[in-house]
């Protein structure tokens, strides 16, 4: 493998991806900001003022990490799945296949593009939340690690979804029927300590709960679950998805006939 060539190819994919989501910022960056600000106003402001503190912090403050995480998850996933599937649909993915771009570089390039969008949206929501409530970050390393690994995981998941997708419906099914419910039940708006024991146990099978809870630990130092376990779990999921994507690409699934 010619390292220099692959490096340039990687830069090209990332430049193309960043160029794409910044060019259509009104479709990619603005909507999550509007959505999350509505959550802040309605749940945090109107309803939250009537809810008592959770683990020593106001409800408005409590939901901030979860809302940022929602933005990171949905945008890193959506960026990769829509961009890569569109490339498949319009056949311009062939531009990369006929060139000497390795599978690893294609995966890395799209994943990196998705992560950048997810993290940029997260950063924008973080900045916007300062208008609603001031905060300090208790554990910056956990804060960064959970944000980056979550963006990576969902960018990888978006790529896998795009590989399998055969029509545009296939790229919305996962988001609508799996990702969105898991995110809402992932402890964004509540602590699982408030749930009956049965639902607490069920909730622990939801991977998004570990991300939201770990990220909240990075923010405020409060948690329902072990954040180190959460990080390890995230890392393991990223490795599994990377290997699965590369295996599917090597077989040519969804890319070659």
């Amino acid at each position: 493998m010619n390292f220099q060539r692959q490096k340039i190819a990687l830069e090209t994919i990332v430049r193309k991806e960043v160029g794409r989501f910044t060019r259509i910022w009104a479709q990619t960056l603005l909507p999550p900001l509007i959505n999350q600000s509505l959550y802040f106003i309605i749940f945090g402001g109107f309803i939250g003022s009537q809810i008592s503190e959770i683990k020593g912090i106001s409800y408005m403050s409590y939901i901030i990490p979860g809302l940022i995480m929602m933005g990171i998850i949905s945008n890193s996933f959506a960026n990769v799945v829509s961009s890569f599937f569109s490339s498949k649909f319009m056949h311009n993915v062939e531009e990369m296949i006929v060139a000497s771009v390795s599978n690893e570089v294609i995966l890395l390039g799209y994943t990196f593009g998705g992560m950048l969008r997810g993290l940029l949206v997260g950063l924008l929501i973080l900045g916007m939340s300062l208008f609603f409530v001031p905060f300090t970050i208790a554990h910056p390393l956990y804060f960064v690690a959970f944000a980056v690994l979550t963006a990576l995981l969902f960018a990888l998941a978006g790529f896998l979804n795009a590989l399998f997708a055969k029509k545009f419906d296939d790229i919305s099914i996962f988001q609508t029927f799996i990702l969105t419910p898991l995110t809402y039940f992932g402890g964004v708006f509540y602590s699982i300590d408030h749930l009956p024991p049965f639902w607490q146990t069920i909730s622990k099978f939801n991977p998004i709960l570990y991300m939201v809870d770990g990220f909240r630990y990075g923010f405020y130092g409060i948690n329902d679950l072990n954040p180190a376990f959460g990080l390890l779990f995230l890392l393991l999921c990223c490795i599994v998805l990377t290997l699965l994507n590369l295996h599917m690409m090597k077989k040519g699934y969804g890319l070659k006939t």
Partner: protein
């Protein structure tokens, strides 16, 4: 040196369709080679296996001496592909499409920008560099595909029906461009339905039918295999019957015109003499159809 060496190449799709049934094909470095065949004959599948778009079932393929599966990066880097369908991002600007493709091949950005400018100027697309691809005409899109395929300076250019839907003037300018490219040393493999195009441009030809090469060789030797050529002869007079000594003649719907078969051993001078002997005057003489087309149809019939 061989630019392409294909041996016993087979491809069976998951649907059970056997697209290639043991293809053997050799293209020498510097050749301008035509691969002819009807729709569904296996041309695009064959090209797809060379550039990694189609997984072959068995056989071997070498590009400039290297097996494509063992050295995918090197072999792909030496190939430029002009596909049959427009497969660029139609929402992208013309210049970006070419520069991005150069990046995929690992060409540094500064160099990519310079090469793109030259190619777009050569192919008369420079004025359209900031237009999105969706706003180009069909002919411009074809030229954009050529620019994109050449941006990494490939040694082998593969063109899959490059002039489909292109008007006559543009077709001729594309032919001139490809001839010049070949003269400069680029090996060209061309698939086309336009047999005149193949006869005009290519030194060698292979004909593929039902996934098998049924004929290959130099254009000249293949054309020499034809037993006769048919000429449409238009006379000043309206001969009701035509008896030309040594030639077979057949009336057409136009009372002035007759189709005359000239055998491989016969000459046009002999035909003129036979016409003169009948006291007739020729006002127009045309080949009836393209010679390669006749050969192609004969082969498919047989």
């Amino acid at each position: 040196m061989h630019a392409i060496e294909i041996h016993q190449l087979r491809k069976t799709y998951a649907t059970g369709v056997e697209a290639l049934k043991g293809v053997d094909l050799t293209v020498e470095s510097g050749d301008f080679y035509a691969l002819l065949g009807a729709n569904g004959a296996g041309k695009t599948t064959l090209l797809g296996t060379l550039v990694g778009l189609v997984n072959r079932s068995s056989g071997s393929e070498k590009v400039f001496g290297k097996e494509v599966l063992d050295y995918p990066e090197e072999t792909k880097h030496s190939i430029g592909l002009v596909p049959q369908e427009f497969n660029f991002n139609i929402f992208e600007k013309v210049e970006n499409i070419v520069v991005t493709q150069a990046g995929y091949y690992g060409v540094p950005r500064k160099q990519a920008l310079a090469r793109t400018e030259k190619l777009l100027k050569d192919l008369e697309l420079w004025d359209k560099r900031n237009s999105t691809a969706m706003h180009l005409s069909g002919g411009m899109k074809r030229r954009l595909l050529i620019a994109r395929a050449l941006v990494h300076n490939p040694r082998l250019l593969i063109l899959d029906e490059p002039t489909a839907g292109v008007d006559v003037e543009l077709r001729h300018s594309m032919w001139a461009y490809l001839r010049e490219l070949n003269k400069q040393g680029t090996t060209i493999l061309l698939t086309t339905h336009n047999l005149e195009e193949a006869e005009q441009l290519c030194k060698k030809v292979a004909i593929i039918q039902n996934g098998q090469i049924i004929k290959q060789g130099s254009m000249r030797s293949l054309l020499q295999e034809m037993s006769e050529s048919i000429y449409q002869v238009t006379f000043k007079q309206k001969p009701e019957k035509l008896k030309l000594k040594g030639f077979k003649a057949e009336a057409t719907e136009d009372p002035h015109s007759w189709n005359v078969a000239v055998g491989q051993e016969q000459t046009l001078s002999a035909l003129f003499e036979a016409v003169k002997a009948e006291d007739l005057t020729i006002v127009e003489l045309n080949t009836k159809g393209n010679r390669l087309e006749q050969l192609y149809l004969n082969l498919l019939d047989s």
